[in-house]
């Protein structure tokens, strides 16, 4: 099995290296990329899409297929982590840990012992003990909502400033990861459960592809956002601009969910019961 995998990887590498010979030479000024494509983007991007940030226009509009499959690759990375690491059979734990909220005392309940109800007084924590740290927890509480707002700002302002779906999604995922670091994995999973993360990761790609498909339904070609102007009362240029925004949101949802998902699986070695 291993030899088959190795051989296929080696063959693929050989094919890829062989195909690089067809590329234009490094820095070739006569290559197609530098003769007309770049100039076209630089001259016409603002008129075509009403997006002042060229990178966003190229990324989400002119090269929409590329970004669509990049997002899919991110989703596949999350799936790969899930299938490689996740252990579906829960271990029989020897004990459960509870923390008394007011005093910070940790209780160890051996198997069969009387368990406190998970309520006002006690909260269940990970079965491998994570040191409770008041300062880190409180400081992250102060910071997290503003970081989430900042992430949404980065997503929404991809048209004007650096940023967009990938960056904003990463920051948003990082806030949830910060929550998991500051408390424990259990309290982060209380907000964004694994199932929700998986759903969001798929939904992000679906939003992207769905916008593309909607363009076909409205008579354009796949990912040609100007077709959206028939559905809403936009001019074709503004339709392209808003289409880019929708696509960015899809990318952001997928990327943030995959970040969280990968973190859950990596930090707990697939058991989802003990965080970092």
């Amino acid at each position: 099995m291993k030899s088959i995998a190795l051989t296929s990887v080696a063959l693929l590498c050989a094919v890829l290296i062989y195909s690089t010979m067809g590329f234009p030479a490094w820095g070739d000024s006569d290559s197609p990329a530098s003769t007309h494509v770049s100039d076209y983007y630089i001259e016409n991007a603002v008129n075509d899409t009403a997006v002042p940030n060229l990178v966003t226009a190229v990324l989400a509009d002119y090269r929409g297929y590329d970004t669509l499959f990049e997002t899919t690759v991110v989703l596949i990375a999350g799936l790969a982590c899930f299938f490689l690491l996740r252990r579906f059979k829960p271990r029989q734990p020897q004990h459960r840990l509870y923390r008394h909220i007011d005093t910070g005392i940790t209780l160890i309940i051996e198997q069969g012992g009387k368990e406190p109800t998970d309520s006002e007084e006690f909260v269940r924590i990970d079965s491998r003990w994570v040191p409770y740290d008041l300062v880190i927890q409180q400081a992250s509480c102060l910071v997290i909502p503003f970081l989430q707002l900042f992430a949404l700002y980065v997503i929404a302002h991809g048209h004007h400033s650096p940023g967009g779906g990938f960056q904003g999604g990463v920051i948003f995922g990082a806030t949830i990861i910060l929550m998991a670091i500051a408390n424990d994995l259990r309290s982060a999973a209380r907000r964004v459960s694994e199932r929700l993360g998986a759903l969001m990761a798929s939904a992000g790609v679906l939003i992207y592809a769905g916008i593309g498909a909607l363009c076909i339904l409205l008579g354009g070609s796949f990912l040609d956002y100007s077709a959206l102007s028939k559905l809403f009362a936009f001019t074709p240029v503004m339709a392209r601009s808003h289409g880019i925004l929708g696509v960015e949101i899809g990318v952001a949802v997928a990327v943030s969910a995959v970040m969280i998902w990968i973190y859950y699986n990596l930090a707990s070695a697939g058991r989802h019961e003990e965080g970092l």
Binding site: P93, T117, V135, P145, Q148, Y153, H160, A189, R190, H272
Partner: protein, 187 residues
């Protein structure tokens, strides 16, 4: 021998929403509104665009944040106290800044001093403070870290501080005046 109980049986991943949450997880309406307002103000500073489209995006983003994490930002139950606390905290800041400045000059002097190792005498001290409330504990801990010669090593929930002090003089200064000042903010 009793059969082993599967303690995870009630904790399937999808069940998390139904699991009883701990204290402060049910944000009140006031917390949501307050979070929304704070978020929208931050959005305006961040965005810097005042056309209708971007403001609408701001409203949507603030709504999202206030639904996701209102209980994180304002777990306090007494909302009447909040503006007063905030005002007192703003009044506390200049004094803190002055102390921070003093601390920095102190450390700056130490780090350029040629025989620095003779001037410092690191030690770890513990003391019990009278401060109650998580946010007050956080503010006091971070103030200790920022002010002369001391770094907070550990804080327990009940207010027992473990502090690394760089010399005996700064170790003696704790808890001192700062504790009273922080206590005053949250009374």
């Amino acid at each position: 021998m009793a059969p082993p109980v599967n303690v995870f049986s009630e904790e399937k991943p999808g069940d998390n929403e139904k699991a009883p949450n701990h204290r402060g997880s049910q944000p009140r309406f006031g917390a949501r509104v307050l979070t929304f307002l704070v978020c929208f103000a931050t959005w305006i500073v961040l965005s810097g665009r005042f056309d209708l489209f971007h403001l609408a995006l701001g409203v949507i983003a603030s709504c999202i944040v206030s639904t996701i994490s209102a209980d994180i930002l304002f777990p306090v139950h007494e909302f009447r106290q909040l503006p007063k606390m905030f005002a007192r905290f703003i009044l506390y800041l200049p004094w803190l800044l002055y102390k921070v400045f003093q601390a920095n000059l102190n450390v700056l002097y130490l780090s350029f001093h040629p025989r620095m190792r003779e001037r410092i005498d690191p030690q770890i001290i513990t003391f019990q403070s009278k401060i109650k409330g998580n946010m007050a504990l956080l503010i006091f801990a971070n103030s200790i870290t920022l002010t002369p010669g001391t770094v907070t090593v550990h804080v327990s929930v009940l207010g027992k501080y473990t502090v690394h002090a760089i010399d005996a003089k700064s170790a003696e200064a704790l808890p001192g005046k700062m504790e009273r000042k922080v206590e005053k903010i949250f009374e």
